[in-house]
């Protein structure tokens, strides 16, 4: 029984990380109907920016919340800039092109980031400085909970709430929703579409950057290819929850995290990655709109 509860806790923790990345995916898809393949690599860059920041400020020596927050800030700003540049130079020129061209470009950008990362940072794994190690561990008997896990979970929920607020209670959010409904109509209404799209990208990328730092902290090994699998899994989570839906992304991510943990613990650890794809295929076959999504008719 304890084992099962431990698995649940592990799964929740894993899911909250996927959630941070999935939020960015779902936002960009909602507004551009584009799967930003490069999102997973922005997450990776977030981790590296965090590492270099921490090294520059010599944070590795001691643990403090402020060093974590400063590192996260640098990471989020850096990733927002990277996201902006990707959108501006790779996706915007193709706004009117056939979907397949943008898809190929997205794959190209993703691979470019990965391999440049290998070139710049070296392809061997690096150690992420332990800038924040909350003291003590919260255990209930055999059940072990690392306070860091709780914090990551908390941050995901907080960011999700903030995002919900932005999307549904602010003008920017309204603009985002308008643009996601129809670009042309929105611009006719006087909304600066390009700007709104840029903001969306920046917001999503900043979240990925935060995720990168959190993951670097929790699993201190980072390397340039670390974004590939989490990126794909976060995408699956977003689809599972209903792509374009913020709550859906978080719920989908947690479900995926739990499913993965249970599969690995009780059945076949080596099919861990394959599970995400299996879930994707099943969802797309049986409920393509996801758990919270809305049916969209394709106009001819």
């Amino acid at each position: 029984m304890v084992e099962f509860l431990q698995h649940l806790i592990n799964g929740l923790s894993l899911g909250s990380i996927y959630a941070l990345i999935a939020l960015g995916y779902t936002m960009v898809f909602g507004i551009l109907q584009l799967i930003n393949f490069a999102h997973g690599d922005v997450y990776m860059l977030g981790a590296f920016i965090g590492m270099y920041t921490a090294r520059a400020f010599h944070y590795g020596q001691s643990s403090s919340l402020s060093s974590l927050l400063v590192t996260m800030a640098f990471s989020m700003i850096g990733c927002a800039l990277i996201g902006f540049m990707i959108e501006r130079f790779a996706y915007r020129p193709l706004r009117r092109s056939p979907r397949i061209n943008v898809l190929i470009t997205a794959v190209g950008v993703s691979l470019f980031l990965e391999f440049s990362g290998q070139l710049l940072f070296g392809s061997d794994p690096k150690f992420f400085p332990q800038i924040y190690t909350p003291a003590g561990d919260w255990s209930i008997g055999q059940l072990r909970i690392n306070p860091l896990q709780v914090i990551v979970f908390g941050i995901s929920i907080t960011l999700m709430t903030i995002l919900q607020y932005i999307i549904f209670r602010t003008r920017l959010g309204r603009a985002m929703r308008a643009v996601s409904f129809s670009h042309d109509l929105a611009s006719l209404m006087g909304i600066p579409t390009d700007q709104v799209i840029a903001y969306t990208f920046m917001l999503g990328s900043a979240l990925a950057g935060a995720a990168g730092v959190m993951v670097g902290l929790t699993y201190p090994k980072i390397e340039p290819l670390m974004g590939v699998m989490p990126g794909l899994k976060a995408f699956v989570a977003a689809v599972l929850g209903g792509i374009g839906n913020v709550t859906g992304a978080v719920v989908g991510a947690i479900v995926l995290g739990l499913a993965e943990e249970l599969l690995v613990g009780y059945w076949a650890p080596t099919y861990r990655d394959a599970l995400a794809f299996a879930i994707l295929i099943l969802i797309l076959l049986f409920k393509p709109t996801g758990l919270f999504g809305v049916r969209r008719t394709e106009k001819v």
Binding site: I100, V107, G108, L111, F115, F277, A278, I281, L284, P288
Partner: protein, 343 residues
Amino acid sequence: MTTHKDQQQHGLRTMWIWIAALAAVWFFQFFISDNIDPYFFGIIMYAGVNIILAVSLNLVNGFTGQFSMGHAGFMSVGGYFAAYLTTSLQASSPALFASAPAAGAIFIASLVAGGVLSALVGYLVGLPSLRLKGDYLAIVTLGFGEIIRVIILNVDAIGGARGMPNIPQLSSFGWVYTFVVLTVFTVWRLIHSAHGRALLSVREDEIAAEAMGVNTTKAKVRAFVIGAFFAGVAGGLFAHYLRYLNPQTFDFNRSFEIIIMVVLGGMGSVTGSVFAAIFLTGIREALRPLQEITKVDFRMVIYSLMLIILMLTRPNGLLGTRELMDFIPEKLRRRFSKKGVTL
């Protein structure tokens, strides 16, 4: 009005180019291939395998407009199965391989078997996937490619993570390029037929095609299965040249390299894919001195950058949807074909 006899004659007149190609291949095999430096020979062999992969992928991605990113998976299925057959046969009855014709026959049989299994897997993968559109199809095929790789990793009988060594070296220039000619011939003939027009209609406007009575699902699955078959054959040819198979060879990067060839050559041009495959295989080795000097491997960075720039500036690739023949002046073309129908 063309009579039946005219049509027959026409058919033969355009067959000659394919027969000539086969003859050239085997001439090369028997008289020249032994004098080629092994290093360049390797490049030529890999180019041949890549041509088959690129052309078969183009059938799906370019002509049918279905963006599949899991081609390496089909290559691995065909390769592993063919290798499994030949290695088991060699272990149990080595005498079978004694004579060249017998070895060749076994080789062809195992290649075809690998291709058929690949086609079957393609069918199973295609049925659910081809109901999806664009981005989703891409990710699902990527996923299937990964699932196939993970399965192979876990099957101990074919070596799993250790890989499968000691595959007999049955691939020769002749066999590889025979299949190159065969692949290009099949895809070419398919495209220039009624079935091909159905595929093109699916690419151009699926809903309109469906409205016109084209069974789009069947068309898509057909393209997918044929593409998978040839990818499987390519895998078998690859396995019997490298003589060692390892699942990590068939990861997403391999699929990506094939996609680049298709995109560079032009999604919708068979000759474009052929050229792009040769070009990229050659460039891979041509860039090696760069890597030796700088001690860093720029190749994948260059490839991905090239892909982005290509999409931004010339999304149709080298040849777009045109074929090499389109560049030959009208007069010359007419000499080699019958009324209205070119090669």
